[in-house]
Structures are given as C-alpha cells and as structure tokens.
Subunit: 347 residues, 2 copies
C-alpha cells in the first residue's frame, strides 16, 4: 500500500479539501498510473452533493484520467512502464454477463464498478482521479496516443465516449441532420464528433451568445430554443438529436423537432423525471432513448479515432485547489468547455 | 348527394343519438360502400368527449369500417360493385410528401384526413362509420377477404394495424421476448400478431382475472403488474414491450423490464403526458417510441396476412342504439375485446 494525495469530499455539503488515502500495490494484472490530468465532470458534482443518492464518503471524484504507467503487475501484457494510459468511468465489471462478453461493460448486468463512489469486488470503496495515482486492472485501462495534448484527451474518457457511442450506435454520418442540445462539456464533444462523421450539425441552445463558439467547434447551424418562431420552423427537421442537458427540462419541444422515425438520445440525467407526451412520439414514430458512456473496446476505438483526426476537448486547466470554484462556474455554464485538473498541483 | 342514417354526438356531453346527413355521390375515383359493421374504438370516446381538443360536431364516429361496394366512379380500377371493402382511420392525405410517397400516409406532413372528426380538402367535415354508407377515394379503400367473419375483420382496420405495424417495423419474431401491456381491443390483437410472428409473448395486466383469456389468445405467459415480486423478477427481461394503455400511467416501471437495447412502443395516448426517468433509458440503452396505425399498403398486407392465417378480432356485436352503453362498458374494460356495431340496426 502506498499513500496517495488527493482532493476529497467528506460529506455532501462542505467543500472538497486535501485528503490522503492508500492505494493497493499492483496485483499481477494491474497497471499503476501516475495521474497527470483529470477532467471535471458534471456528474462529479451530482455525486459529491449526493444528488443521485447513495454517495460514499470520503469521496475522491474524477473519472477522466490520463497519466503515465509507473509499474505493472507480472501478468500485464498490454502496458509497459512509461506508456501513457487512461482510465474512464469504471475500473471493473462482472466480466461474464452478456453485456461484458459483448464488450459493453458499461451495461454489466451486476453493475460496473465505478472509478469512484463505487465498491470493488472486495467491498472497498473506489477512489477516482482527483489524486496522484491510480491502480487498475489492465483490462479497464486505455492506451493514450502521444500525439495529442493530453490535458485535452482526459475529458474524452467520459465526455468524449458518452457522445461518440450513441452517434456510432445510431450510425450517424453523411446525410443526417443532427441537433446537439446544450453546448457544455458533452455538447462540444458531440458537435466535434457529429461534424467529423459527416453529419449536418445544428447546436440548439437557450443562449445566442454561444453561436460563434458553436460554429468554431464545427457546427453548421445554430438555433436559439427560446425563440418560438425558430422552434416552429425546425418542427420535424432533425433525424437525430443528442440531448446533453442535465437540468430539469421538458423533452416534448425537442421531440417535436424530429423527423419521421427520428431519435432523440438523452445522455444527461435531470434531477427529476421529465414528461413525455405520447402524441409527440406517436405522430411521427419518434423514439427517445438513453445511452451510457461506452465499453472499453469502443472507448479505445474513440481514442484512436481522436488521435487520427486530431480531436481533443477544449479545456481550461486548473489547480486542484480551484476545484470548488470550478464546480460553481461549471454549474453556471462558465467554462469552455471542460475543466481539467493539473494533478502536478496536488504534489 | 344521398341521405345517410347515422349515430352522432352533437356535443361533448350528451349521448350519441340518431342523425341524418348527406354523403356525396361517387366522384370518378370514389368507391361507395354500404357499411355492414363498424368497430368501436377507444379513440371514438376521446373524440366524442373532446378529450384531445378540437372536436367537430355533429360527429359521426367510427373508423373500423367493413362493407360492400355498391357503386364506383368511372375511373375506379381496383374495386367493383359487390366487393367487400374496408376503410380505416383516414380517407385522404396530401399524396405528395415523403411520407405519402413512402406509403406511410398516416404520417403525412400536412396531416392525413381523418375518417371522421377531420376536414376533407374542400374543408367539409368528415363523417365516420357509425352510418349506413361511406364514399371514399379508392386509394384509401382496402380489399377484404370473403374468407373471414367480417364483424371480426372490422377492428383490424384500427386495432389490428395499430399493433401489427410496430411489431413489423421493429422486426419482431422468433427469439424475441415480447410483452403486451393491457389486454383490451389493441392488446388482444397485439397478442395474436406477436404470437403468430413467433415471439415469446407475455401479457402484463393489473388484473389476474385476464390470465386464462391471455393464454387462450396465444400468450405464453401472464404477469400481474401490481405484484412487486413479479415486476422485480422481470427486470431487464423483454426485448420489446407494446403498451396499449391509454389511461394515465408511469412509463418507468415498464421501461425497467426492458433488456439492453430494448424498445417500448406506446400506441395508447394517455390524457396527460407521462413521466420518464432518464436513468431508466440510459442504464440499458433503452428506447421508448410511438407508432401510429399504418399506411394503406401495410394495412392491406395486414388484412391479407390475417386472411391467410385466420386472424380476426374477438368481438361483441351490438346495435347502434347500444353504443352509449358500450362506451361505458369499454371504459371499464368490460368487453372481450371489441364492440362492433351491426350497421343493419341503423336501417
């Protein structure tokens, strides 16, 4: 066991603060990673504040982890000391259920083991990437290219795969009209991927102020959802809508923008259930679906795609001591588009 | 113009009563049908009572119409006097939009012309099948086999196609576990079709009393949704759920019964929007979709399939004068499974 420096929440209400805990030494199939950068995800705030219930304290958040391998167990085959490596939202799963066998561990029948705020197979709490080191079974580690700025790669491990996976699953590409709702950490990655896949991309936002940014990110169009005329003109327009909104909202105005057989995929989790009007679905055989991050295989595919196509997240690098302020700014939408903690600031 | 006897609602609150109105003489592409039977659909009640808004009075309901051709226009090619013919939920559409060109007139961009409670292209109100005669363009008429009892065929025009179409669209067949929620007019047809297509069919009902009926209709299993243990055991069990419920209900307990990538299709329209918990969708990449009747081509395919496979609706034949009582009984679920008006009782 070795002591690891971290930032942690001790309960749902007080700010995150320095914390020291112990990580295991690498088991035979483990990779030990010295963390370089860790992204700040909206779900970190939800879990720190126990907004989804069941939070485990002390909590070391963070599941957008990039670092360098410093030690490997004797049976590790695919990582060597000195490699860049990444860890996303989970660090284990049952490995035997149909989802795990289909490389979709995120849908594991018995539940994936979260990178933090979870419990490993021995029942010990898991601690995330707001820390100097992590030890993870190699099956749940990702290879990271040396070609990209790694602070911009970190958010790909959650924000990236969360948007890449549904765009791939629903086979989005040339000829599709795609809307991205919300231009935050997830939304800005959705725009980059959808545009890269060849779709015609519109950003839907409550604020006109994001228009130039949306176009800079690769969107072809921008529409303000608070303008009734705009919303009326876009009725039945989109083949696919990816909604990244995690604030409470009504799905129906968006559903009505879908064309015949169109699908809206939600990746944000509002704190309360949203209402759906059956007419909105029935009138054009529309669907609303959900999608959860992606499996290890697909996450690697996404990282490789990003390396080949020069895609990274737009980030603002902060010190660990700035994370509480970053949470407040993120909740106000005041970040373009992801905070990433420079873990050197923890040492 | 000829006078036609009918049963009509004069407003949203008083009982239906005898009514006489005029139908046009057949235009060159029209078929004139002497109606023999007309099914009573739950949506008749919604519209008679203006529960969806915008009702047009006087209203002659009825869109599950079977009768015999008594006259055809000079340009009619596919029907001759003496043929059995059917009319479903719509009698016209724009004929030029992508949906119409794709034989999915029910999703017409400018809106199909409802068989009743609609307005034709001249702006005149349309009157439905609780009447002795109807005149419809042949493109919107269906061929009816002489091989089946036609009183049992009438409900196929709405209850049949409404359940057949989504089962076909989502390619349900052998190897699929299908749940049908609600065992009424739509539900009993869904059971017959899903079983006929080779799926493993479970009826989900609030009432244990329907178990034997469900099995008689072809279901392989029956589950009572008010039993928490049963619902728990069925979590993640079904590939496809067809919900025929048009009463207010919570979608989430049903969504949680879907397997990874499972789809729930709603064909009933609750009076209020229903809530959807994003977690229910996201956790297993589930979808909820809507489906609206079917196009003329698919309705004909369904009718032909029924004729080949001996499938009809289970009906209780009533006189027109019994329709108000039938509405009350239908709302209580006291019909196995569709009321059909013997139009001879109107003459």
């Amino acid at each position: 066991m070795t002591a690891v420096k971290a930032y942690a929440a001790q309960n749902a209400t007080t700010p995150l603060a320095p914390f020291i805990f112990e990580r295991r030494d690498p088991l035979p199939t483990d990779v030990q990673i010295e963390i370089l950068y860790c992204g700040v995800c909206h779900s970190d705030v939800h879990q720190v504040r126990n907004e989804w219930g069941g939070s485990i304290y002390p909590m070391v958040p963070g599941h957008e982890i990039v670092g360098r391998v410093t030690k490997v167990g004797g049976e590790v085959k695919n990582f060597t000391v000195g490699d860049l490596a990444g860890v996303g939202c989970f660090v284990d799963s049952c490995r035997t259920c149909p989802s795990c066998l289909a490389n979709e561990e995120q849908y594991c029948d018995t539940g994936m083991v979260g990178t933090y705020n979870g419990r490993d197979k021995e029942g010990n709490p898991t601690y995330g990437g707001y820390s100097t080191r992590i030890v993870v079974d190699e099956k749940y580690c990702l290879h990271i290219s040396e070609a990209l700025p790694i602070e911009g790669v970190a958010p790909l491990l959650c924000a990236g795969i969360t948007t890449y996976s549904p765009l791939r699953h629903w086979k989005i590409g040339k000829g599709h009209k795609v809307a991205v709702v919300g231009l935050g950490g997830l939304g800005h990655m959705a725009v980059k991927f959808a545009a890269s896949f060849g779709a015609d991309v519109t950003v839907l936002s409550t604020s006109k102020s994001k228009e130039q940014d949306a176009l800079n990110l690769g969107a072809h169009h921008f529409a303000v959802t608070t303008d009734p005329e705009t919303m009326k003109n876009l009725q039945g327009h989109f083949d696919f809508i990816l909604s990244t909104i995690s604030a409470r909202h009504d799905y129906n105005p968006y559903l009505n923008l879908l064309t015949l057989n169109g699908t809206m995929v939600v990746v944000g989790v509002p704190p309360q259930p949203s209402v759906v009007n059956a007419f909105s679905l029935i009138g054009k055989r529309r669907s609303i679906a959900g999608s959860l991050i992606g499996g290890i295989k697909e996450t690697q595919e996404m990282l490789d795609y990003c390396a080949e196509n020069g895609i990274v997240s737009d980030v603002e690098v902060i010190k660990a001591s700035e994370v509480n302020e970053a949470y407040e700014r993120m909740l106000k939408g005041d970040v373009r588009y992801r905070f990433v903690i420079d873990i050197a600031s923890l040492k």
